[in-house]
Structures are given as structure tokens and as C-alpha cells.
């Protein structure tokens, strides 16, 4: 594994297998009364969140704490540019406090990669703009592997047809997921109206080996798993789609589509959900929904990532 986790591209299939095996052990720890492991005692992890995200930040914070690391949260609203300080200065000021890892969320694509070139600490990308969110993709794939496995033993995603639906253009979850899922052998189809598909997706999908579609109803009956992505209502003002009603009819996981899906196909959503827009309440709360499993998987996967990046030699 590399020193940093910046992109899902950084992880080979073997790396992912190792991370998942460790995550499974970490997952078991969550059921104990004493959840703390001493593996990262004496290590300092900064959760540097330029963009607010209670969910991801608390997940990383718990992961760090359960591994006995000292975790510190720094939340800075807005870009450093608006405060007149360069990103490099901001980050060097923080990193020079002797930290071992910087878990970073930033509203700008590529920010974590840039920061990794400036600091000695290991950098974990906890979401950069509309680029990537590699730990989210790991936890999604992990939750699916558990679902397709048997009694806590992880199943294979080889050949499983995973359908991602929603605002692909603005989704870092989509970008990371498509990389991780295809690396694990899953067959991926992404579905969105043309205005919410990123530029150049035709050539990208053909070189990266995933499929695209504008027609959810055509794809859904062939799905082994469905992942609904958040659609922000603000996108309507950008002319990406006319009304939320029209979006739901075309691309929402409605009650009717839930019926088409059947009771076995797992449903994922990275959160936060817009109930009634991209996902009907019935679907979100259905027995086949993995949404809460995703959250507990998130802590296990992040413990695994922090452990593998920080426990061994070569780390500061």
C-alpha cells in the first residue's frame, strides 16, 4: 500500500482484500464491550475538515479513537483562499505540530493530492470536491461483500451487477466506487440523465470497463445491488433537471421500482438521503437496505485504513 490514500486508484485488488480482512477483524471488535485496541497508541491523527461532514468526520474520529490514536478535529469553513492564506500555509501550520496522519475533507478536487506533496504525514482523502472519496467506496464494497457473504465471512463481488444511480457529475462517491467495484470484478452500470453524467464519460466508461445508461427501468431488473446517490436540489437552478418531480419519476428508487427490484437486492445510499427525491422512504427503510450497515462498516473500514497506513514502519 502507498503511504497515502488519495484515490481509489491507489489500491490494488490485493490491497483491498487485505484492508477488508483487517476490517472484518475490526468489525468484530465493535461488538465487544471494550472497543479500544492499542495498535495506534501514541499516534496523532488530525481530522482536517474544510467542509463540514458530521458523518464522515465522526466515523474517522471513532475509528482513530478505537485504535487508541489521539485524534484532533479541525474544522475550517470555506476555502483558505477566501481567508487570504494559501492552502499550503494552512496545512503546513497544522502538520508541523508533529502529526502522523491528516484525514482531509476539502471542497476542491485534488486538494488531498496537493497536500500530500507538502507534508510528511500520511494523508487520507476523506472527500475532495467532486473528485473522490476512497474510504466511502471501500466501505460500500465491504458492506456489499458482507451482504453477499455468509455469517460475517466476506463474499465475492466478482460478476455482481452493481447499479449506481444519481448525480454522477457532482459525485465523488461515484468516482471512487466505480474504480473500487470494477477492481473487485463487479460489473458496474451507472445511470443518470445526460445532464448529470460527467464530461467524457463515454470514453472513460469504455476504457475503465463500466456501462452507462439513461434508462433506470431498463437496468434495474438486471441489478444485483443498487446504490442511490444524493441529488442536491440546488442542481435544478443549474438547469441539470427541471423539477424534483420529474427527477423522481425518471431516476428515483420509488415504491414501484422497489417492487421490480424484489426483496433480495441490497440497496445502498452513502447519505445524507433526500427521502422522496432519489429514494422513497419505503426503499430506504426496506429490509434489504444496507444503509445502516454502511455506517458500521464505515468505522471498521476506516480503522483498517488507519491501521495499515500508520501502524507499521516507515511512518513518522
Amino acid at each position: 500500500m502507498n503511504k497515502h490514500l488519495l484515490s481509489s486508484e491507489d489500491l490494488t485488488a490485493d490491497d483491498i482484500a487485505t484492508l477488508f480482512a483487517t476490517a472484518a477483524e475490526m468489525h468484530d471488535v465493535q461488538r465487544r464491550e471494550v472497543k479500544k485496541l492499542p495498535a495506534l497508541r501514541g499516534r496523532t491523527i488530525i481530522n482536517l475538515f474544510f467542509e463540514d461532514s458530521t458523518r464522515t468526520r465522526s466515523s474517522f474520529e471513532i475509528a482513530g479513537k478505537w485504535l487508541s490514536a489521539d485524534t484532533i478535529n479541525i474544522t475550517g469553513k470555506g476555502s483558505s483562499a477566501s481567508k487570504g492564506e494559501s492552502l499550503r500555509d494552512t496545512v503546513l501550520t497544522i502538520a508541523s505540530m508533529g502529526v502522523d496522519a491528516v484525514v482531509m475533507r476539502h471542497g476542491a478536487s485534488g486538494a488531498a493530492q496537493q497536500v500530500s506533496q507538502w507534508v510528511d504525514a500520511a494523508v487520507v482523502n476523506a472527500g475532495d470536491g467532486t473528485h473522490e472519496h476512497p474510504t466511502q467506496a471501500l466501505l460500500d464494497a465491504y458492506a456489499l461483500s458482507r451482504h453477499f457473504g455468509d455469517g460475517g465471512r466476506l463474499g465475492s463481488l466478482e460478476g455482481r451487477h452493481v447499479v449506481l444511480v444519481g448525480d454522477l457529475t457532482h459525485s465523488r462517491v461515484f468516482r471512487s466506487n466505480v474504480i473500487t467495484l470494477t477492481r473487485l470484478g463487479a460489473q458496474v452500470t451507472v445511470v443518470a440523465p445526460p445532464t448529470l453524467m460527467p464530461a467524457g464519460i463515454a470514453s472513460w466508461s469504455s476504457s475503465a470497463g463500466f456501462a452507462t445508461s439513461y434508462d433506470l427501468d431498463e437496468v434495474l431488473p438486471k441489478a444485483d445491488a443498487v446504490m442511490m446517490l444524493r441529488v442536491q436540489k440546488e442542481r435544478m437552478s443549474g438547469g441539470f433537471f427541471p423539477t424534483s418531480r420529474e427527477y423522481t419519476v425518471g431516476y428515483g428508487l420509488t415504491r414501484d421500482r422497489l417492487r421490480v427490484l424484489g426483496p433480495e437486492v441490497p440497496i445502498c445510499h452513502p447519505g445524507p438521503m433526500n427521502r422522496g427525491l432519489e429514494i422513497a422512504a419505503d426503499a430506504a427503510d426496506a429490509a434489504q437496505s444496507l444503509i445502516l450497515e454502511q455506517v458500521s462498516a464505515g468505522v471498521a473500514v476506516r480503522m483498517s485504513v488507519l491501521y495499515h497506513l500508520l501502524a507499521g514502519e516507515g511512518t513518522a
Partner: protein, 199 residues
């Protein structure tokens, strides 16, 4: 990870225990455990991966033969509790499997292949404390090679094997390596502080 590519002749060095010696030692340890516990009541065997798990299962099998009961066997991985994590590349932890009945108020016997510095046992005790509160913890090892760095001793020992720090003690078991043998050899890597090199 099973070392399936290991040739059946095993590692180089002088053989100190062959398959028959190992079998005898385990039988003796099984009897000692029962004797010390005054029966099989409340016994739980926890092997320390990798090779301690196989040894624990063999001991359980012998107890089953003698007593006609199946006692709980599990695995206790100590990777995350090691005090030398920083000195090596991070390794993936191996499964920890605690038997269904848990360990609270039980007599837990930790089983490992080689006792050396005592650091693995220290880590195992820490790990155990995070999982529950046994009434008693005992330690069974196939080989005690000395050179303790911590105030720890084994309750049940298959063989006391005086060794130099510069030597390597290599345990190979059927389950993981395809043959049963314990050998000792000069180590090219004498300063190695861990108690067994094959872990």
C-alpha cells in the same frame, strides 16, 4: 498463511522434536491441563495464531478422547496488541474467534508454539482483558527456549530448549506446514527480538 510450498523435509537445522515427540508432548500437556483444572469444567483453549491455533485444537482433541467431552477452542490474535508494531510493516491481523460461551469466569489456557521474550504473551493478556474477565489464565507452550524479557512463565511446557539468542527455533506443524517438526539453527538475523520467526 499456510506455507504450502514448504518442502516436506522442513527447514534446515538440528531436529529437536520430531512428530512423535510433538505428539507425546501434547498428550502430556493435555493431561496436565486436566489435572491442574481438576477436570474439564470451565476450560477454554485459545490458540495464538498462527501455530498456536492448531496446537490448541490438538490438545482439545486429546481431552475429548480422555474425557469424552468437547471443550471450547478459539483463536486470539495479538497483532494489534504487539509492542513492536512500529518496527515492521503493518501486518493484517488474523482472525480472533472467541467460543460462543465467552471467557468470563472461565479457565482460559493460552496456547502458543514457542515462548521466548514473553512479549507475545503480554500482548495476549492485554487482548484477553479487552474481551472479558476469565477466572484464571494459564499458558501452554510447545517449546520454551528461555531469554525472557518480561516476568512471564509457562504453566505447561512441551520441551524446555536451551538456546542461544543467535539461534532460530522453527516449529512446523501438519496443519500449517505439512509436517510436524521442531528444529534449531543458527540465525543469519541474530538480533531479531521476536520469539518465533515463522509467524
Amino acid at each position: 498463511m499456510p506455507a504450502t510450498t514448504e518442502p516436506a523435509v522442513g527447514p534446515p537445522g538440528r531436529t529437536v522434536l520430531d512428530a512423535r515427540d510433538i505428539a507425546r508432548a501434547l498428550t502430556r500437556i493435555s493431561h496436565e491441563i486436566l489435572e491442574r483444572n481438576k477436570g474439564h469444567e470451565g476450560l477454554v483453549l485459545l490458540g495464538v495464531p498462527t501455530r498456536g491455533v492448531g496446537l490448541a485444537q490438538r490438545i482439545a482433541a486429546r481431552i475429548a478422547e480422555t474425557e469424552g467431552v468437547t471443550i471450547p477452542v478459539g483463536a486470539l490474535d495479538i497483532t494489534l496488541y504487539r509492542d513492536d508494531l512500529r518496527r515492521h510493516p503493518a501486518r493484517a491481523p488474523q482472525p480472533t474467534a472467541i467460543p460462543a460461551g465467552g471467557i468470563d469466569q472461565k479457565t482460559v489456557v493460552l496456547v502458543d508454539d514457542v515462548l521466548y521474550s514473553g512479549r507475545t504473551v503480554r500482548a495476549a493478556l492485554d487482548a484477553l482483558a479487552d474481551i472479558g474477565r476469565p477466572a484464571v489464565v494459564r499458558l501452554a507452550v510447545l517449546v520454551d527456549r528461555g531469554h525472557r524479557e518480561l516476568p512471564i512463565r509457562a504453566d505447561h511446557v512441551g520441551k524446555n530448549l536451551p538456546s542461544a539468542r543467535s539461534e532460530r527455533v522453527m516449529v512446523r506443524l501438519e496443519e500449517t506446514d505439512g509436517l510436524d517438526v521442531v528444529r534449531i539453527a543458527d540465525s543469519p538475523d541474530a538480533a531479531r527480538p521476536t520469539e518465533e520467526v515463522a509467524r
